[in-house]
Amino acid sequence: MNIIKSYLNNLLFSYSTLLFLKSRLLGLILLLTTFLNPTIATTGLIAWATTFIFSSFVGLKKNDEIASIFTYNSLLVGFGIGAIFKITYLSIIMTIGSSILTVLLTYTLFSIFATYLKLPVLNIPFALVSMLVALASVRYSALILDSFNSLNFLNLKFLPLSIHGLLSNIGVLIFLPYDIPGLIVLISLLFLSRITFGLAVFSYFIGTLILAIFKSSFTIAFSEFYAFNFILTGIAIGGIFLIPSKRSYILAMIGVIISVFILDAVSIFWSRFGIPIFTLPFNLIVLLFVYVLNSLDHERINRLIKATPEKSLIHHYNFQERFDFLLPKPFLPFNGFWNVYQAFDGEWTHKGKWKFAYDFNIVDNETSYKNEGLFLEDYYCFNKPIVCPISGYVVDCFDNYEDNQIGNVDKIHNWGNFVIIYSNFGYYTEISHLKKKSLKVKIGDQVEIGQIIASCGNSGYSPEPHIHFQIQYLQVIGSTSFKFKIPNAITKSKNFVNDGILKKNDEVSNYHFSRILYHKLQFILDDILVYQIKKGDKILKRMVLIVKMDFDGSYYFWEQATNAKLYFGTKDSCFVLYTLESQNKTYLSYIFKSIPKIPITDQGELFWEEALPLNVVPNRKPLWISSIDKKALVAKGKYHKKDEKIYGEIKVGNSIIHTEASINQQKGFDYFRVEENKTVIEFSLIEKNN
């Protein structure tokens, strides 16, 4: 059963991938729609089946994501053949052959693109194979050509040219360039993803408008067969490879406009050889955009493409906005508060390849020294312990250079006394200007976060005592620095540095990790927590939460009654709630609102901010509107921990949600209290199993 189900899934997903979406329902609609032309339906299915059989024959892994790229390209090739040729045993053989060719090409291109360019393959394999087929078929007189536009009964005669143009071009996406299939697809889009729908319609009209201006004829523009490239380009850039937003929409429209020229240029060139250009303009434009934006590390690049642009958008804010899994996150390499003397892109030495580095010293009353500051010992940071920022081992270190007298620098040994530590996460940290003979570790030593490794000195290019701190991906001193974040820095005003990026003259410290709080927030499998939920004075229900583990090793609180899951864990020494997954209404969202993140610290008081997922604090506007206005989209809570209590303030529109939670003396939480629109929901712990 499971095998059939997975085959069926793959089939339906391959169809919905034609529109970059992942939806069984859409797949089914598209599959059924193709039967309006039984020829393409048949060749399509043959191509899909061939791909499937061939893939398993050569032992390709049945990884869903990749598999649907293979089958999707083959599907297109199958459609292409079915659209041009009548079904004969020859065209079937051709379909099978070209499908296999597509698989090989897809696999090869996928490897090259993914590894070297970090690019998707889109439907380049289809574009190339269909060109090959078109070229080859010129010599094959045995193949019987079919008329591409023969199913005129699928057109609605009363429609104006512009609408006809739109619908038929959307129909082309499943090789049915007629009004009715176009309409079916468009309506399904409207229900499934309004962002995709909007992008499709807008891209088409903008592309066609430009076309019409250049060709000075709307009739020619609306009859342009390849205008579907506009639609694909618009959807791909605006909603798939970028997170839907004002900026992505603008980029999408720019892409569409550029593709007009490419379309005409390519079609003139290719038509000399009698080759249809199919999706070539689309592939070219989208790949160019994605490559450039990806290389520039554009903030709106979509790193995890979900089923629809809407879901990508939600996920982006739920997850990627809240958690960074990519950048290195070392702790600060010292104890107590130190001052950022020079930050990233600093004014003196943090330039070029060393721009991602921090210099730290200790400052009191805006000076870094006592007395006259003429001696090393006058400087507050001199000889203060330097601690290990990561877990790993020492790969290189040196501590035999002299500490310079104040005002002098060692221009020959710029980096002075240093230590380079390899992190278990695959990067190196480098700390410079250590005191002579102060190293407490040697090459090869295993080190832990917080362990004393040396003292701050004034060696190397250092006019007054300070340390230089950077992350690099090579073991060599002086290597290029890379961006990183400090996960648990706090300022003197007790504010958590939410984005992990420090600015010049920030006075920062690691917060104290609390073993006690850590133990209190360690929920283990099958822990049971029973809460009584009250609304005002009225008792609503008894909620039983059980701690469970998912197949990927993540833990969640499971509310058996509603099957809602509240995922939690420890990340960067914070207790975090990752996501809330539920089909039904659940009161778990109140818990989420109260404690989306708790720094595990015994620091008496701390302030921080946290974005809240959309299914926890719902958005009032439809997603397609709020994708334009980020502020309307993200509800940010301001949180405040004072001893065992956590207070929150979430601004939603004009109203404010107040939350309060209290940590139990032994484990978990005593109560949660959420005041929303003048109603108070209160959870109180009435039972637990430990």
Partner: protein, 450 residues
């Protein structure tokens, strides 16, 4: 200025500074405290007057706090109330982030009154009344148990309020110094500390989460603290390995000296007394080398004297000059030993409010009490002074204004020189009502005829 008459006297001839009698008297006068002139202060608050320098208090605190926390991350000062529990002074420390360390129900109430939350109070002392234990437990104060009887009381109190209560115990130990303060807490070497831990582990209502020790006062030896830290860490390990307790904090007490000259010491305090940073370095060195980062407990220090002593001054006025029969000179000032508890063991620094010409000679400074013991300074080298000149005595910040007593005269005002050089009266001079208010005269004594 008119030259002051002095009686003829014989003086040893010295040539230059190098001689076996030490340096000759340096011009040692002080015209202001924290930038405010002595006369301005006296004009506002009269003489005598205790003066505190807010800027200096904050600076000393911040230096020590920064020094410690830049070495060992989990560190917290707790202001020793008994050293100086004036509301204004305590508030300065609490503004700087210090917790409160109290040793009686009175100090506890005082700390609560100015707004210190219960869980930021360390409650020490050899006797804690039952009711104060109840309150402290309810408010989650850190209570340090001193003896077994108190342990039973604590258990009873915990049972009464019906919750599991976290407590600490006070330890005493041999740190190689004399005298060994063995009267406070449970002794480490004779096993009574371990017995206390065992007893607590058997209790249904008590949890042990902290260890406290206070090895002495005016400790001039930093090594003693290293020994203390070492012993407490190994005791903490013993407890954590053998009993189901997690020690959340270690409280190393206080006892750091100030730059006051102890009677009977030869070298001046600038030479003989180590800097606070030296104590901090000694303590943190042991902490950092003995502990792993994940097991770092919170560390408390209850430093009092070293943080406040040098920020306090006493301005007094010379009210009489007298030649004693054996030939030496003496002055009578307007502040007596009843305000100056610490005069018993310190030779204060004594500064005149102006530059005075004339040869200094050894003099005695008496207080105004009609008591023979009222000797403020026994042997101080002063130039010839006349009535009305001011003497500024220091360091005065620690203990005097808590241990002073009302006797014969009213106790004087206490002022604070703020950071922007304003003179704030933080305790006004006493009036008759202050003293007679608690008094009651029985009916039959209410009238008399003379």
């Amino acid at each position: 200025m008119k030259k002051i008459y002095t009686k003829p006297f014989i003086m040893k001839q010295t040539s230059g500074y190098m001689n076996k009698f030490g340096s000759i008297y340096q011009k040692n006068y002080r015209s202001n405290i924290a930038g405010v002139s002595i006369e301005d202060i006296v004009a506002k608050a009269d003489s005598p007057v205790f003066v505190f320098d807010e800027k200096k208090i904050r600076q000393t605190y911040r230096n020590a706090q920064r020094d410690f926390s830049n070495r060992y991350p989990k560190f917290q000062f707790s202001w020793s109330y008994k050293t100086n529990y004036l509301d204004a002074i305590c508030s300065i420390f609490h503004q700087e982030g210090s917790f409160a360390e109290v040793v009686s129900e009175f100090e506890y109430e005082k700390a609560r009154r100015i707004g210190v939350p219960g869980n930021k109070i360390i409650y020490n002392g050899p006797f804690k009344p039952y009711n104060s234990l109840l309150i402290a437990f309810k408010e989650n104060a850190m209570v340090h148990i001193d003896n077994f009887d108190e342990l039973y009381e604590a258990e009873k109190a915990a049972r009464e309020i019906g919750k599991k209560v976290k407590i600490g115990i006070r330890l005493n130990m041999d740190t190689g110094t004399y005298p060994q303060w063995s009267r406070f807490g449970f002794n480490l070497e004779d096993g009574s500390a371990l017995n206390a831990v065992k007893r607590i582990s058997k209790s249904e209502s008590l949890i042990l989460n902290g260890l406290h020790a206070h090895i002495g006062t005016f400790m001039l030896e930093t090594n003693a603290y290293q020994m203390e830290v070492q012993k407490m860490i190994s005791f903490m390990r013993d407890i954590q390995n053998n009993y189901n307790f997690l020690i959340e904090y270690l409280d190393f007490g206080g006892g750091f000296p100030s730059k006051n000259k102890l009677k009977g010491t030869y070298l001046p305090p600038e030479v003989s007394v180590p800097q606070i940073s030296e104590y901090i370095e000694a303590i943190t060195d042991v902490l950092l080398s003995e502990l792993k980062p994940q097991e770092y407990p919170m560390v408390y220090l209850e430093t009092g004297r070293a943080l406040i002593d040098e920020a306090g001054y006493l301005i007094t006025t010379i009210e009489g000059v007298k030649q004693l029969p054996h030939g030496s000179k003496s002055y009578i000032i307007d502040a007596g030993v009843n305000f100056l508890y610490t005069s018993t063991w310190y030779n204060y620094k004594c500064e005149v409010d102006r530059s005075v010409n004339g040869t200094p000679e050894n003099t005695t400074v008496y207080g105004p009490l009609c008591m023979n013991i009222d000797v403020v300074l026994e042997n101080v080298s002063l130039p010839p002074l006349t009535k009305g000149m001011r003497l500024i005595l220091s360091p005065m910040g620690a203990y005097n204004v808590t241990q002073w007593m009302q006797f014969i005269r009213y106790r004087p005002a206490i002022v604070l020189i703020t950071e922007d050089k304003k003179i704030e009266i933080i305790r006004r001079a006493e009036k008759l009502e202050d003293i007679i208010t608690p008094e009651r005269v029985p009916e039959h004594l209410s009238k008399f005829n003379l």
